[in-house]
């Protein structure tokens, strides 16, 4: 199993009701697989996940990426700083 830390920001943080979540994931799970799991476990963020940006260890990542061991995974909407 793979221990990962999820970090939520902005609208997704509000919908999740938490800033972070520690999860145990199967080895070799992809981002796509993670999204499926979150959609099932947290139906309130299912819509948000369709347009979510994902980062693995602070770099933007995409559906096909395999989640490395002990990854820090960010989930957030498109940025709006400035």
């Amino acid at each position: 199993m793979n221990h990962v830390k999820l970090l939520f920001f902005a609208t997704i943080r509000e919908r999740m009701g938490t800033k972070s979540l520690d999860l145990e994931l199967p080895a070799d799970l992809t981002i796509h697989g993670l999204k499926d799991r979150l959609s099932a476990d947290y139906p309130k963020v299912k819509e948000s996940l369709k347009s979510v940006l994902i980062t693995i260890n602070r770099e933007y990542a995409f559906d096909e990426a395999i989640i490395p061991l002990n990854a820090e995974i960010g989930l957030f909407p498109p940025v709006s700083g400035g």
Partner: protein, 167 residues
Amino acid sequence: MTFNMQHPNLPTIFSITEDEIDLNDLLAQITLASTGAAAIFTGMVRGETSRRGSTQANAGDEHQTEFLEYEAYIPMAEEKMKQVADEIRARWDAIEGIAIVQRIGKLYPKTPTVLIACTAAHRDTGVFEAARYGIDRLKEIVPIWKKEVSPSGEFWVEGEYVPKAGE
């Protein structure tokens, strides 16, 4: 201030802070003995959105803002600010100092929220373009978000850029 392996003598500042943005201090920090020009961009909280001179606001958008509330994914935002600075140096090799600062927390109208400053020996070396590029990129890839609070409620300002692989 960070030490940059590729540009060991060129100051690069990036910061996410709850403190006031001090333009005088930041400019001094990125001014070298060889510096003759600086272009600085600052963004401020708009208290009212009117149609005058705006290319984004339409008639129906006119409204008052009480304050904006900013949040950031701080360690990643710092890394992405460094990336923006590296991109600037790759495009404009005359750039001497770079400062990229985002203020976060609850920010009221007329308050500067963000600063991008670039210095060079002369003004015709790309300093203006570099500062413009810096704020454009910050708004694309640096993980910061803002929520607007107004008399009619609160809503998250929506970004639209989706970073590409490796960005």
